[in-house]
């Protein structure tokens, strides 16, 4: 019931309205290349889009993220604690599109390592046309070192050696942006491939989709028929939940972990 009701309502059916024509359009045009008897209007004609807002960065191709970040010379690379709090909660600053029109946003917090950044970079290099598109990382380096003890070693003997570097991020962080003289339909296949390649839950965003998501959330909050919101339950100890709720449940109210 709960799952069903989530999808009912005003904007339940629409996922990405920008792509309403893409799924059937290409199939139809491939079937009816020319027909004397078919109806005329199969092509969608549009006025040329205005790209005055596009500002290309210095480098259009995706930058190579170094495996090991630039370290101070003469200093031993620092071993860092796990700092899992850096993945926890919402991203408050880097959660909007700045450089391009389309991007990849993380739904949950997580970590990016060098292998994943390379996969994404190869996808972009192969599929992106850098004469009229650009792609930009929204972070600089994999700054956090992750240590590992050798396999089969016993506990003790100090902290392990640095194994690799990662970039931790919070939920709703924008990780990658794309833009240029291109439309969403051109960029979508590439972004979809990147989205599938990444190990954490993520979504493809545009300015419109983010605005729509915000509007939908506000509408759900305004039209919620359930009086038992998480906030109400937490504040009033419904079902004795205060026993097992943590401090962050009173801040984020079950929206983020």
């Amino acid at each position: 019931m709960a799952l069903l009701t989530r999808f009912l309502g005003k904007e339940g059916g629409q996922k990405l309205p920008e792509l309403a024509s893409i799924s059937t359009h290409n199939f139809i045009t491939s079937l009816r290349l020319f027909s004397v008897t078919a109806p005329m209007s199969v092509i969608k004609l549009r006025y040329p889009k205005n790209y005055n807002h596009v500002k290309y960065p210095e480098r259009r191709r995706l930058k190579i993220i170094d495996k090991i970040p630039p370290l101070d010379s003469g200093v031993r690379p620092p071993k860092m604690p796990r700092d899992l709090y850096t993945m926890r909660g919402p991203e408050l600053i880097h959660n909007k599109l700045q450089y391009g029109d389309y991007g990849i946003q993380a739904i949950t917090g997580g970590r990016l390592n060098h292998k994943q950044t390379e996969t994404v970079r190869m996808l972009v290099v192969r599929q992106m046309d850098d004469r009229r598109m650009f792609a930009v990382w929204r972070f600089n380096q994999l700054w956090q070192s992750v240590t590992k003890k050798g396999q089969g070693r016993r506990m003790g003997g100090g902290k392990g050696a640095i194994d690799h570097y990662v970039f931790p991020f919070r939920a709703e962080r924008i990780l990658l942006e794309m833009g240029g003289h291109c439309e969403f339909e051109e960029v979508y296949p590439l972004l979809k491939a990147i989205s599938l390649a990444l190990p954490f839950r993520n979504r493809i965003v545009t300015h419109e989709s983010m605005a729509q998501r915000e509007a939908h959330e506000e509408w759900v909050e305004a039209n919620n028929l359930n009086p038992f919101t998480f906030k109400y339950c937490a504040d009033n100890n419904i079902l004795g939940c205060n026993k097992y709720l943590g401090r962050y449940d009173y801040i984020w109210y079950n929206k983020y972990r």
Partner: protein, 240 residues
């Protein structure tokens, strides 16, 4: 009271300061009580009480509008004008029903037509009908059905066209436009059988001149013969 407890809890020094270790990357299923709380606090949105046809219509309209464009009318106006101009600048525009055939066979047909000096053109029926709508060629609409092809020629080579069509059973002539006249299949065949324009002009001249010729020859005959002819004419006139 609850608010005070919460703030104390958050900033408490006796309570575990680190909290439980959170598992962000591989979250485990929460235990039953927490799961119950999560499901109870799910937002309950007002259900969609519209009938199923209405809901389906909304989705259908979204898809339909995705195909529509702001330039559609302008494009249609341009394309109708363009087809009209390009088609009817030719002297002969014959419309044939085209039977299904392989592309190899069609190539052979095209070659035959080319050798006869004809061009083949496919035009969308709806577009062609729209093009001839408000013009004198409105009656060509009869031929613009099903699978058809336009045979175009810049010179009036009707006999050659008929000969070529005789050799191609895949093209069935319906009718067409010949020098600003709409002709049916039978009329076109008749017109093809006619001799050339010069021959026809000669014939017309002979027809026109035969009556004048006769009277001039009669008047030019010998006097005796002329008088006998005139007396005969008077007799006939008096009887009538």
């Amino acid at each position: 009271m609850a608010f005070i407890w919460q703030t104390l809890r958050m900033f408490s020094t006796t309570h575990q300061s680190m909290g439980t270790k959170i598992n962000i990357q591989k979250p485990r299923m929460p235990w039953i009580e927490r799961r119950i709380l999560n499901s109870v606090t799910e937002p309950l949105v007002p259900p969609d009480l519209r009938s199923l046809p209405q809901k389906c219509l909304e989705k259908h309209l979204i898809k339909q509008n995705a195909y529509k464009s702001e330039l559609q009318e302008a494009y249609e106006a341009f394309s109708t004008k363009d087809t009209f101009e390009k088609l009817f600048e030719h002297k002969i525009v014959a419309i044939c029903h085209i039977l299904p055939m392989t592309s190899r066979d069609f190539f052979q047909v095209r070659v035959k037509m080319h050798n006869a000096g004809m061009k083949l053109k496919f035009v969308n029926n709806i577009l062609a009908k729209a093009a001839i709508q408000k013009s004198k060629l409105q009656n060509l609409e009869l031929y613009l059905t099903s699978h058809n092809v336009f045979i175009l020629c810049e010179e009036t080579k009707l006999a050659q066209l008929m000969l070529a069509l005789k050799k191609t059973p895949e093209l069935q002539l319906l009718g067409g436009l010949v020098e600003d006249r709409i002709l049916s299949r039978a009329k076109m065949q008749e017109a093809a059988k006619l001799p050339s324009l010069d021959v026809m002009r000669g014939e017309l001249l002979t027809i026109l001149s035969t009556s004048a010729c006769k009277t001039s020859s009669l008047l030019g005959k010998h006097q005796t013969e002329l008088s006998s002819i005139l007396t005969q004419l008077v007799k006939e006139r008096s009887i009538c």
